[in-house]
């Protein structure tokens, strides 16, 4: 079972992708490992390495250490600007 990955706002626009199903390589079990793995695609994907890219796991804000497991919904996005 893959991860469901979502991208929002400026990041979504830059990547040209709003969502994907992704089977991470074995050993990719945290938000930061997943980020590094996606950024390794190169090109626009290197934007995922930017320090200000935020993440959520299963719809809750998550730090780099947060675990990710098959079936999780993981989102990457710029700092929020609502309100």
């Amino acid at each position: 079972m893959a991860l469901r990955i979502l991208y929002f706002a400026a990041l979504r626009e830059a990547l040209g992708v709003s969502a994907e199903d992704f089977d991470p390589p074995a050993g990719v079990a945290s938000v930061s490992a997943l980020r590094a793995c996606l950024a390794a695609r190169g090109g626009v994907w290197e934007r995922l390495s930017a320090a200000n890219v935020k993440a959520a796991v299963n719809q809750r804000m998550a730090g780099g250490d947060a675990p990710v497991a098959p079936g999780d919904e993981v989102a990457f996005f710029p700092p929020v600007t609502g309100g």
Partner: protein
């Protein structure tokens, strides 16, 4: 009375395209109960200028599902800090023009200090924790709004034990 209190003790959170009625929302926070001493509200509006450029419109993107959950979490954090009677949060999404309402936070409490503090706390956390993103239309084209450092520090002061002097 207890059935009404049960209703009024609730937290109501909405994410919607439609505008809202500030008078109705404010009044509803105190309806049917006589233990409310004060209601603090905040209404955010779209301004026609930002970072030196004219803004003719903006579009609010959000993360459906997480948005409602994040707002409810923020209200729960406020309730854990202050004895609140009723709380209402509304955030609009979609296309808005200057002068339009974007967000409403209303808090009813027995005493004003709690109502003010919780209302500002919810706004500060909403600004940094709720997944909304603004894209502005300006004469130079569309642009995503940058997060403001001031918003991070506004939210941070609540975790530095910096509760208002009168609690």
């Amino acid at each position: 009375m207890s059935a009404q209190q049960k209703v009024a003790d609730s937290t109501r959170v909405s994410v919607q395209e439609a505008d809202f009625d500030v008078g109705h929302e404010t009044t509803a926070l105190g309806d049917g109960r006589c233990d409310v001493g004060g209601i603090a509200t905040f209404t955010g509006l779209v301004r026609d200028a930002n970072d030196g450029s004219g803004v003719s419109a903006m579009t609010l993107e959000h993360y459906p599902g997480m948005t409602e959950r994040a707002l409810a979490d923020i209200v729960e954090q406020a309730r854990a800090r202050w004895p609140l009677l009723s709380v209402r949060v509304i955030h609009r999404v979609g296309r808005l023009v200057p002068g339009d309402r974007i967000v409403f936070v209303g808090v009813a409490a027995a005493h004003r200090g709690e109502a003010f503090a919780a209302c500002e706390f919810i706004m500060d956390y909403l600004k940094t924790q709720a997944p909304f993103w603004k894209r502005e239309e300006t004469p130079e084209g569309g642009r995503w709004v940058d997060a403001r450092d001031a918003d991070d520090s506004a939210a941070a002061r609540w975790s530095a034990g910096a509760a208002p002097a009168k609690g």
